[in-house]
Assembly symmetry: C2
Homo-oligomer: 348 residues x 2
């Protein structure tokens, strides 16, 4: 039926994921009083009496989001939960429940699915989240997981992407780029293994990187930390697609610009040494790597004293007026425009 229609076709690749979402949801109107925030943030916000509810969902597909040749199923289950909880924390909320839908082809025995669920259960236990439902199905090819996370927050605590204002400081938690490099290391080992199945993986020098790729932790601690510090960010997002892409989301939705400072990016020593070994630019890796599941947020300059000495938080730039654009300021003090795919290496 589909194959017969040959009228006007637009390639999905042209639009890209965000373009497609926007295109498909532009005409959506929220009509329920309980729908406070729909499509367009890390999580949707619903209000039922005093608490607001956060709902977020992610789809993980074999061959697209993960490769089972180096991703153990238990880790996959754990990571799939992290990806979702991270979105709840990025709203400054507390994750409380998840649903898990799963489709598997018949190449998976029960024990494999048990492994997957062991990771899911471990994540739920560690993060104090209840598994409350789901769906299972066969698939014609491979494994896929769809997880929805639900969380709660007081209305006044929720942080959206659209509140950043000029002069706000841009803050990132933890460090950047390690998960991406972990993937590069695993890909290399896979190729070595394919060439010589008796080769032993050499991962000793990359333990942090591999752990960041295979067993990321969502920043549950950050909403609590912010409360302790008495800081409410003006905007917040989690870093799943890469710092560059995420700060562009914040700037676009807040209608502001930004300057990020290359020399401020928090990098683990393994990131620096492995970038040298792989001949990769560490700034590019930090900007475009993705899968860090750290939080990126903006705060009023008045809050600077509260955050400045905190070992979890690094100030990496500041918000500007919109017409100044979104830029990386290099160590050599050059201004380079940020793009969602990292940055355009065209000097201005």
């Amino acid at each position: 039926m589909l194959e017969d229609k040959n009228e006007q076709r637009t390639s999905l690749a042209e639009l890209g994921e965000f373009g497609l979402i926007k295109h498909l949801t532009d005409q959506v109107k929220l009509t329920h009083k309980s729908s406070i925030k729909g499509v367009g943030d890390d999580a949707a916000v619903l209000e039922f009496k005093n608490k607001q509810i956060l709902v977020t969902t992610d789809l993980l597909i074999e061959g697209v989001h993960f490769d089972l040749s180096y991703m153990p199923l238990k880790h996959l289950g754990y990571k799939a939960v992290m990806v979702n909880l991270s979105d709840v924390y990025a709203m400054n909320g507390k994750a409380t429940q998840i649903t898990v839908s799963l489709a598997v082809s018949n190449r998976f025995p029960l024990e494999a699915i048990e492994e997957l669920y062991a990771g899911i259960h471990l994540a739920c236990k560690t993060y104090n989240v209840d598994l409350i439902g789901g769906d299972t199905s066969s698939s014609t090819k491979g494994l896929l997981l769809s997880i929805t996370a639900i969380g709660e927050a007081n209305k006044e605590d929720i942080v959206y992407r659209n509140g950043a204002k000029p002069n706000d400081l841009i803050v990132v938690t933890g460090d950047l780029g390690a998960a991406y490099l972990g993937l590069q290391v695993l890909e290399r080992e896979k190729q070595v293994f394919q060439a010589n199945p008796n080769a032993q993986p050499e991962l000793d020098n990359y333990t942090y990187l591999v752990e960041r790729q295979l067993k990321p932790e969502a920043r549950k601690d950050i909403p609590n930390l912010l409360k302790e510090l008495d800081v409410k960010p003006t905007s917040m997002i989690d870093i799943s697609d890469g710092l560059s892409s995420e700060i562009i989301h914040i700037c676009s939705q807040s209608e502001v610009g930004c300057n990020l400072f290359e020399d401020k990016f928090p990098l683990d020593p393994q990131v620096i040494s492995t970038c040298e070994e792989f001949k990769l630019d560490s700034t590019t890796v930090a900007l475009s790597g993705g899968e860090d599941y750290e939080l990126l947020f903006t705060v009023d300059t008045a809050d600077y004293p509260k955050i400045k000495a905190n070992p979890h938080l690094t100030v990496i730039g500041h918000i500007t007026e919109k017409d100044e654009g979104m830029n990386l300021i290099t160590r050599g003090n050059q201004k380079i425009e940020l793009t969602a795919q990292g940055w355009n290496a065209m000097l201005k």
Copy 2:
């Protein structure tokens, strides 16, 4: 990695879907005060202050749940929403929001996805539900949809599967078996078309059946009707897998038995005539067909006067003590044990 392990394997087919869910979620413990009901009913129930929230999710996979050679994408989008809303109504709740996650292979042009979303949007509009989030992804093969529906209800209105008690009447909404026969008609036309691509589909005598298969409607009206009639069912479920399978869920969770009366089953005239044409037993079709998306519930006998003349509702049997088993009483007054796959044709 998976393929290397050859220790102990249990086939997923042995367990079946419900067995697998039970197996995987047996050790789940709900720890949040807000998690009132987790895995095991049509929807999970969460409590945040005065309202309880219903959450349900379903996965639809090309080649498993639908065939695009006769399922137009717009209808698929509409039906995918219905499948989920039906679960909310089966809790006696009001559906308020959905999230939609979608993965597509590159054989789908934008226009195809727009068609799909047109169906989703139409369903949202018709049923007054807000689309509040989701995820999109590429897939390595085919199309898949994962939808989560959220609803609300007052705590005292929610109907679970486990409240049926001996002597309760068993009631079904609408009629049974038409969606299954619609599928048979479409499958036949597909084969005719494959043999002779110039053949015109002959669907005039099957309009109701085909509509029930391609564009089912969830019973949003029933929770309202029950309120008007001042009837609170003792248990309720929606008919997605077939009447037999659903009444078994109710009986198992309520620890009761049942007698269903073959001569009471509500059947559309097209169901009866098409069963004759296809040489199918209409009782088997009604029991095992599935995809009717009608509601099946039980009521106290004291409520009989309130429901007896209602054109939407048909009493098809009654609940018994558990040790009497779950049975079909035939027109010939024979007692046949119900099974999830229909019924065992062994006379007792």
